[in-house]
Symmetry: C2
Subunit: 474 residues, 2 copies
């Protein structure tokens, strides 16, 4: 583990709140060397990929190795009414892991076993610390795969907590559609199961989907049963450059509207291509670009690609450039997944404020083009990537964290992007979650009545407000 | 409206509980002729397609015409702490509509407008009284369709409440995957919205999916935003007869496991074929049969069908018989959808006890074949139909409602079917919901901890227990 790259600062908004000594003592007795109070470990667990740099770290970190460990940690925290914050790999972009009301960080990375692979049922059950790449490596020999791929090599637990998606969601859905069942440790330390391995069910309230996207605020997910898919018989990937973002977006809109079952269709802007070229030593044309992938039988893949090429050409797109071998495809998608880190590295010392709006597909051009224009006018370095087949895109504003004026300008841009998306019938967050950063936007989006219902559920399931408090709603 | 075919009887389990006179008076003042206390109307709203025939009818029926009507009806019932039971078309198979603790039936059939069709976004927003056939008629000119099709021409509100699915779910998912957002009147009469028209979102708790499948126990759904789909370029339907059920089931298991994107794959047994032949004047071979449909481009449809024909042949299946024209296909699927009614009519005066288990696909043969053997041994007339691509099948036991011994035997068979499904990792209900009939099974399936969490949510959102009480859990 590395020490954090920036020290944590105490600010008036987030005063240090230390765990009671008796709690630390009880945790120490129960967990021995699985408990750490070393400042470097605490600081590492007190931050994530978000632009929040000024929150005090958690009081201690428990490295859970079993559901029973999670139960006992939660029970001890419950006794002392002290917050518990589940921790996966720390790749949240929204401050989910930050101990804004103090807390014990519950590190789940040692719970990293693939518990069962039911290849004949296209399901798998994993512990929350398994990462998406680890899972796919693990099931490679079955000719099955798990499609959900946020950019980072996130943990399945974290992806469940944030209702994550990524590049394949346009074809395979998000965590919402692909989590079949969960084991959860509740706020009182009880273990419950929320579903079965059946593909569908009408058996009572959908607790599974209540926990998917609950951001650690209702309980700790300790097992996840997922759908997996047969590797497609044929896969082909292509890139296509466009004179402008508008033309790329219009190609995507038409592709979705006529129902081409495209597996991936990602937009990256010229800024992102530039950063990716530098970072991954590639020579992609530094123009707005769609990265696409088609899955199916050889004939169907060919047919899909021809249809999209025709639409692209009508919109001024270039000829497709193909990535035919698995190695070429891996290189292409690794470059795409690295776009975020490549862009962040393009401005040394910066932090990134990332938007995450998602709009109905017909409104994508409206949502996106104005956002680009405003970013260009602002003078703040930025990049744009998007899971555009879903109507979801990310503006990344690369700010100097010590320049308050720049941060304020970036937040203003973010605000404009969200306001526009809501006006267009969309959501403030397509896949990153609310965390700390979007609580006000959530109120605006959902309305007071829905927020009150969420609060009522939170109070009912976590009456002492110990599960990752201060996230989702204030 | 017709008078009920059987009179309601009061039994000790379900004593009559009449609405307070002051509530009826207040409803009458607010709703005038939209309120009915006529016994024929009450009795019609006090039963459904289930085998429960002995529950007293609701005290009155309010015919809501707007969200505001629903609000006012709920508020008046809330003032008097008296139950409200939302009513769609009465096609529940599980006693959802029965006033087991007394109640006001809230008939939503007049709220039957398609409010908006966003063809370019593949979404539609409807009132709860719109039926699935009405919706598809309404959007026919857009070349889009809504795929979810429980056998009955159910209301979209009822389908939302029970998390319904049907024959297309294997390809297009269930109501869980296809409801994007809801407007809901809560137990206190407040109106909330639970989502946006964006295809995906990570914005807070998934209230949409909490209400989908909540069986009217948490609030009344007053608007539903749904995903719709481009009509496939090519559709082809086929039937295939098999020497035995086992061989048909094994064909389905292999088809799903290799990932053929089949749109529909339905099993019907020889008993069902016989009933359908009589009912719909058809001449289908009276053997176990798969009814299939393939969607896609012409080439892809051909390819899919060839793959499945090959698998079927390996399993002793006959040559596919094709239904090529839209008319032939409609006839075929109408026959399938009428299987339930055809079977019920094959034993005059009977009521049907229907199982609804769903298991992981690899366990389907185990779950199904023992159920058939036990039914054969019981001597009770029965039929079998199944959405077998999802691992979901229905045994329908046709009982004489006045023969307690026969009812008990059928319930015993049902119990065995469910117990086996749970042992195989499945669910007691794939698509009909829990209602009155599966409350004990739900406890067995979900476990005490999950049931308690459901109860906690119910108590938090409906503290006076007025929303369809006595369903899902006792």
């Amino acid at each position: 583990m590395n020490a954090p790259t920036q020290p944590a600062h105490v600010t008036p908004q987030y005063p240090q709140r230390e765990a009671p000594a008796a709690l630390i003592e009880a945790l120490s007795q129960r967990f021995g060397t699985q408990l750490s109070t070393a400042m470097a470990v605490r600081e590492l667990h007190g931050r994530d990929e978000s632009a929040f740099t000024t929150v005090p770290p958690p009081s201690a970190v428990v490295f859970a190795e079993s559901t029973n460990d999670v139960q006992d940690a939660v029970k001890l925290c419950a006794e002392h009414k002290f917050p518990v914050i589940p921790y996966g790999v720390g790749s949240s972009l929204e401050g989910h892991l930050l101990a804004v009301q103090g807390g014990i960080s519950l590190d789940l990375t040692r719970m990293n076993k693939v518990l069962s692979v039911n290849a004949e049922d296209l399901t798998v059950t994993v512990q929350p610390g398994v990462t998406r790449k680890q899972l796919n490596d693990d099931i490679k020999s079955t000719s099955l795969f798990f499609p959900i791929d946020p950019g980072a090599d996130a943990s399945i637990g974290g992806m469940t907590a944030t209702r994550a998606s990524g590049t394949n969601a346009v074809r395979y859905g998000t965590m919402r559609e692909n989590v079949l069942a969960l084991e959860v440790v509740t706020a009182s330390g009880e273990v419950i199961r929320t579903g079965t391995r059946a593909r569908k069910s009408s058996a009572g309230y959908d607790l599974t989907r209540l926990f998917v996207g609950s951001e650690g605020t209702l309980g700790v997910v300790t097992e996840i049963t997922l759908r997996i898919y047969p590797l497609p018989e044929a896969v082909s990937a292509a890139i296509c450059s466009f004179p402008s973002i508008a033309e790329a977006v219009n190609t995507v809109i038409s592709t979705i509207q006529i129902g081409v079952p495209i597996a991936r269709v990602e937009l990256i802007d010229a800024n992102s291509v530039r950063a990716v070229n530098r970072h991954s030593k590639l020579t992609l044309r530094e123009e707005p670009m769609l990265l696409m992938e088609f899955h199916g039988s050889p004939a169907s893949v060919k047919e899909q690609a021809e249809m999209v090429q025709e639409i692209a050409r009508d919109n001024g797109g270039a000829d497709f450039e193909w990535a035919d071998t698995p190695e070429d495809r891996t290189r292409l998608w690794t470059a795409r997944h690295n776009a975020y880190f490549a862009a962040v590295q393009s401005r040394p010392g910066c932090r990134c404020i990332t938007t995450d709006t998602c709009v109905p597909i017909s409104r994508l051009a409206d949502a996106l083009l104005d956002s680009v224009r405003e970013a260009d006018e602002s003078g703040i370095p930025y990049f744009l990537v998007g899971h555009v087949g879903d109507g979801n895109f990310h503006m990344g504003y690369l700010i100097d964290p010590d320049d308050d004026a720049e941060r304020a300008r970036a937040e203003q841009l973010n605000h404009q992007v969200v306001t526009r998306a809501l006006q267009l019938g969309g959501t403030c967050t397509g896949e990153h979650g609310v965390g700390l950063h979007k609580m006000d936007f959530l109120v605006e989006e959902a309305g007071g009545g829905a927020i009150n219902m969420m609060r009522t559920i939170k109070r009912a399931l976590d009456p002492d407000n110990i599960m990752n408090p201060g996230k989702v709603f204030s």
